[in-house]
Symmetry: C2
Subunit: 341 residues, 2 copies
C-alpha cells in the first residue's frame, strides 16, 4: 500500500465537486440529496479511481464500526464452526464484519481480549464463552456494550442468548432410551457453571421424573469438561459407582466418544452392553463405529439468530433481553439398542 488509496478529496477533485458532495453520493442513504447527474459523475469517477471508503475515518465520526466481536472458547471444537458460519453470513448480509477471537476459560484473558475488541470500536459482542454467572458479561453490560451469547447463556438475564432447547433435547434422549426398555439410565453432566451443563442436567432429571422410573434408577455423574478424555474417565467412574447402568446420555458428542473409549477398554460393547446418546450431532458422527445416536442441535441456525439479535440490540438498545431457544431433534443411529434381557 505504498501509493496511498484515493480519498473523498481525490474523487471530488476528479469530479469537480466538493468532497462533502462526494460523501453524500457514496452513502446510499444520502445519495438522493444530490442531483442525479452529479451523482452519476461522482460514481463514475469513484469507480475509475477505485475509491474505497476508509472505515477508520467513518468509524471515528459515526461511532459505528459495523464490526462485531465474536469470542469463542475453542474454534476447533466442531460445534463452533457452523455457529461461526451462521454468524458471519448473518452479519455480512447487513454489511457487518466479524472479528473472531479464541480465548481460554481464563477470565483475565477474556477481559484483555474484550477490551482490545472494544478499543477496536466493535458495535457489539457475540460471546460463546458465557458462564451461568459471568462477570465478564456483567462488565460489558455495565458499559452498555450490546452482547448476545450463543450456545450457552448467562443466567442473570442481562444479555440475550441463542441456545438449543436443552430441556427438550434431554427429554428426547431419555424418552428414546425408555422406549427401548432401559430402566437404569445415567447422565454424564457437563460443568455446573455452564448453562449447558446445568440445564441438560435439569432436563435429564425432569425427563426421569416424568417417567415411571424411580429416582434410584437414574444416576447423574458430573464430568469436569466436554472432552473425549473427560468422557472416558467419567464413564469408567460412573460404571464403578452404578454398575447396573445400561444406558448413558451425555451432554456432548465428544463425551460420547470418550464413553466409546471406556466401553472398549472395559471389554464391553456399545450398544449391546451400554447404550450411548451424544449431544450436538457433530460432523462424521454417522461414520464412527457404532454410528452415534445423538441430539442434533441447529448450530448454523444458532449463528444466524445470534447475528440477527445482536444487530437488533444495536439498532434498539432498549429492546428487551431475549432467550431464543432452537428446537433440537433426536437422531437415532446405532449406539442405542434395547438392554440385554
Amino acid at each position: 500500500m505504498t501509493n496511498k488509496n484515493p480519498t473523498l478529496s481525490d474523487v471530488a477533485r476528479a469530479s469537480g465537486v466538493h468532497f462533502s458532495t462526494v460523501s453524500r453520493v457514496m452513502n446510499p442513504a444520502t445519495r438522493q440529496m444530490v442531483s442525479a447527474e452529479v451523482a452519476a459523475r461522482v460514481l463514475a469517477e469513484a469507480g475509475r479511481l477505485g475509491y474505497r471508503p476508509n472505515r477508520a475515518a467513518s468509524t471515528l465520526v459515526t461511532r459505528k464500526s459495523r464490526i462485531i466481536g465474536v469470542v469463542l472458547p475453542d474454534i476447533t471444537n466442531a460445534v463452533f464452526p457452523p455457529i461461526l458460519l451462521g454468524i458471519e453470513e448473518g452479519l455480512r448480509k447487513h454489511g457487518y464484519l466479524a472479528i473472531v477471537a479464541n480465548v481460554g476459560a481464563d477470565e483475565e484473558e477474556q477481559l484483555f481480549v474484550i477490551n482490545r475488541l472494544l478499543g477496536q470500536q466493535v458495535d457489539g459482542l457475540i460471546l460463546a464463552t458465557a458462564r451461568r454467572d459471568d462477570p465478564v458479561i456483567k462488565m460489558c453490560i455495565d458499559q452498555n456494550v450490546p452482547v448476545v451469547t450463543v450456545n450457552r447463556s448467562d443466567e442473570n438475564g442481562v444479555a440475550s442468548c441463542v441456545v438449543s432447547d436443552d430441556v427438550v433435547g434431554m427429554r428426547l434422549a431419555v424418552e428414546h432410551l425408555l422406549a427401548l426398555g432401559h430402566r437404569h439410565i445415567a447422565h454424564i453432566a457437563g460443568p455446573e457453571n455452564l448453562s449447558t451443563g446445568h440445564v441438560r442436567r435439569l432436563g435429564f432429571l425432569a425427563a426421569i421424573q416424568a417417567s415411571e422410573l424411580a429416582p434410584s434408577q437414574a444416576f447423574v455423574f458430573e464430568s469436569s469438561g466436554y472432552s473425549r478424555e473427560c468422557g472416558k474417565a467419567a464413564l469408567l467412574e460412573l460404571l464403578s459407582q452404578s454398575p447396573q447402568t445400561t444406558a448413558v446420555v451425555t451432554g456432548s458428542d465428544l463425551v460420547a466418544l470418550g464413553c466409546y473409549d471406556a466401553i472398549r477398554e472395559l471389554g464391553l460393547s456399545c450398544p449391546e452392553d451400554i447404550s450411548v446418546v451424544g449431544h450436538n450431532d457433530m460432523p462424521y458422527m454417522d461414520m464412527i463405529r457404532p454410528p452415534l445416536t445423538t441430539i442434533r442441535i441447529r448450530h448454523h441456525g444458532i449463528g444466524t439468530e445470534a447475528a440477527r439479535l445482536i444487530l437488533q440490540t444495536i439498532a434498539s438498545p432498549d429492546s428487551p433481553v431475549l432467550d431464543v431457544r432452537l428446537k433440537p431433534e433426536l437422531v437415532v443411529r446405532e449406539s442405542t439398542a434395547a438392554p440385554r434381557a
Copy 2:
C-alpha cells in the same frame, strides 16, 4: 455505549497534563520520552477512568490497523479451524486481531469481501482461497496489499504461501501402499486449478515413477471437488474404468469418506477389497470404521507460520516471496492392508 468512553483528553484533564503527553505515555514505545513520575500519574488516571485507546483514531493517523483479514472457503471443513486457531494465536501474540470472512468460490464475492476488508484498513490478508492462477491475488498484489496464502498457493510467485509438502505426502502414501504389496494403485485427484489438486497429483505420479510400477499400474481420476459426495462418485467411476485397482490414495479425508460410501454401496469392504488413504487427518478419523490411514498435515503449524509470515511481510514489504512447506506424516490405521492374494 451511551456514556461515551474516556479519551486522551479526559485522561489528560484528570492528570493535569497535555493530551499529547498522555498519548506518549499510553504507547510503550514513546513512554520513555516522559518523566517517570508523570508517566506513573497518567497511567494511574488512565486505569482509574478505564481509558481504552480508540483504534479507529490511531488507525486513521498511523495507517496501520493491526488487523489482518482472513478469508476462508469453508470454515465448516475441519481442516480450517485449526489453521484459523494458529493464525489467531500467532497474530494476537503480536497485538493483531483477525477479521474472518467465509466466501464461496465466486470471484465477484471474493472481490467484494476483500474490498470491504481493505476499506476496513486491514494491514494484510491471509487467504485460504487461492487458486493456482488467482486474479484476486494478483489484484491485491497490484495494490501493494501484503498477502499470504495458506493451505493452497498461487503459482505465479507473487505471494508467499504456507502449505503442506504435498509431494512428500503423496510419496509417503504411495510407498506405504507399495510396501503392503499393492500393484494397482489409483489416485483421486482434486481440482486441477487448486495447488493441492495439482501438486498432489504430481506427487503421486512422481512416487509411482520412482517405483518399479509401470505407468499402466497407476491410474489418476480427477474429482470435481473435495467433498464426500465427490469422493463417492469418483471411486465408483474409477473402479468401473480401472477395476483391477486395489488401493486408492485421495487428496482429502472427505473424499476418503466418500470412498467408504462407494465401497459399501458396491458390497465390497475396506481394506480387504480396496485400501484407502486419506489426506489431512481431520479430527475423529481414528473413530470411523475402519480407522483411516491418512497423511497428517500440521494445520495448526500452518496457521502459526502464516501469521508470522504476514507480519513479516507487513514489517518488510520488500522481503522476498517465500514458499513455506511443512512436512506431513503418514498415520497408518486400518483402512490399508495387503491386497487380496
